[in-house]
Symmetry: C2
Subunit: 352 residues, 2 copies
Amino acid sequence: MTHSVIIFPEFSLENGSVLMDVPVAYKTWGKLNAAANNTIIVCHSLTSNCDVEDWWSPLIGPGKALDTDQYFILCANAMGSPYGTASPITLDPLTGNPYGVKFPIPTIRDTVNLHKKLLDEIGVQKIAFPVGGSMGGMQVLEWAFHEDFVHALVPISVGGRHSSWCIGWSEAQRQAIYRDPAWENGHYLLQKGPSDGLSVARMIAMISYRSFGSFNQKFGRNIQTENEEASFSVESYLRYQGHKLVERFDANCYVRLTESMDSHDISRNRGDYFQVLSEIKQPSLIIGIDTDILYPLEEQRELSSYMPNSTLEVLKSDHGHDGFLIETDAVNRTITEWRKKVVDPILISPRA
Amino acid sequence: MTHSVIIFPEFSLENGSVLMDVPVAYKTWGKLNAAANNTIIVCHSLTSNCDVEDWWSPLIGPGKALDTDQYFILCANAMGSPYGTASPITLDPLTGNPYGVKFPIPTIRDTVNLHKKLLDEIGVQKIAFPVGGSMGGMQVLEWAFHEDFVHALVPISVGGRHSSWCIGWSEAQRQAIYRDPAWENGHYLLQKGPSDGLSVARMIAMISYRSFGSFNQKFGRNIQTENEEASFSVESYLRYQGHKLVERFDANCYVRLTESMDSHDISRNRGDYFQVLSEIKQPSLIIGIDTDILYPLEEQRELSSYMPNSTLEVLKSDHGHDGFLIETDAVNRTITEWRKKVVDPILISPRA
């Protein structure tokens, strides 16, 4: 694995803003082949980052879905995320201070365009397929429109445009941040941010990622005693999750990333939504989870019924949306089988 | 309709606390018959109150499910709710100030026990059936244990004990309130409460009451412009809902009521949960909604498979949990048909 940061002198966003000295942090595994056509792009979700081994380790390695023997695996950090790519915590070269709330809203399309510059720089000629769930799945679908550059697609637990349902969840989380007095309209000092608001936002999100069944299995009506205060285990769990995110995330980044997801609409400036879906010609493996309340199966069914070369695989899981991060055996197997059938024969020369 | 408040000199809660001068606010429609056995108890949900005509008007009136010609309809405000029954905004007779955060956590069972005192006072000999959804449904199930006093039951969109899933939703909402500096550990002055926190709590709740499909139908990706700021319609909607609740609710009441719901467990001090369910002998109409994410159908299926004299009716609705307040025609029809078959023949003498 190599971890790198590349800095582009300039990058223009969809909304017209232009950023200077734009970093992109990324990690790679395996080797680019001579034809430079064996790249798998892994796209991360809201609060994770380009360290695929950290959150999807059972999928990466020799013989796995992300086969490091045959493929060049690359994961780059999304715009707006605090793990190295340009975001609100990046220093603005014009002022020497972090952009903070002045950082523009990056669309999912902006992130993909920025990552495309990175691949061009590295010399990638063609992507075998991009793969990712949730916010990562949005990037996968945007990659479809770099048509000749992308051989196939694996969007997981996502739809072609962010639903009002998901925007509602995003907004409740943002409001929890905005209503924290430490938010200061986004002009807080780093380390003095709205940690209470961010923590509540995370608690809301953690509910949305799971399901009735997964909480009941894990917690039931169990009681936990902490510092002599008894509370339901699920309450301690959520408070702990809120606390943990605050230690590793920034509120302006959280706001921008949720806005980025809300911007997701593959039909923006491309025409009628269903028509645009039907123009996605790449062979596509669409994965959905039966208990996902956030991006419910009907969204993946919609993708699959309009995308002409697609296959829908429904994962049975008790864990809701997070299933794509939890049911790693099933996800690994599903992607590997599809890859061997649809991608390997075309891109990978028979091994010696 | 009559609106009354009765004050009991004393009331003991499950947790051992004793309140003095305890008000119970209630409304009634129709007349108690000579046998005093024609009472229908309507149980309200979290933020509504005893004015059934306000939130369930298509169900109440001559010939309706809550037939005011034949039945005596009574709805009393729950303990902890700010609409007249004892709650954090009630004056503590010992201090002359509102109880505020010193108000004990009332269990659902406490509310039902308090309402039982009211019915005794009025001279009710037997309840035809209690009916209600959500928090109201919890009260309905607790009424089952006043065995000889209750002829039948109509619990809607509820389970027999609050799930960790629902407790998680409650806790995220309470944390939004607790993290508001105006919360002051509950010691705020009325009118100076944690309105931002309460508002965010309501936004979270409003998501839980609906569904992917209902939001998409209502809002899609529509944009709304307010004070020159454009935002998604669903965002304006949620902010407005948060704002509206703050005008009519109190944060300590909100906290106590959600804690009351979290306490809900019909098996508490009664034995094994499934055994306790199986001992509910009253004829019961259980209603569930197919898109309810908060109290999903599997909870009503559980009730129905253990409660020996029950019938399950599944309501098809796009609106999620709120379906019981929205699909009023279907709810009215379902209850009316069941009542005519199961309750009227026993309790109501043939009309002249």
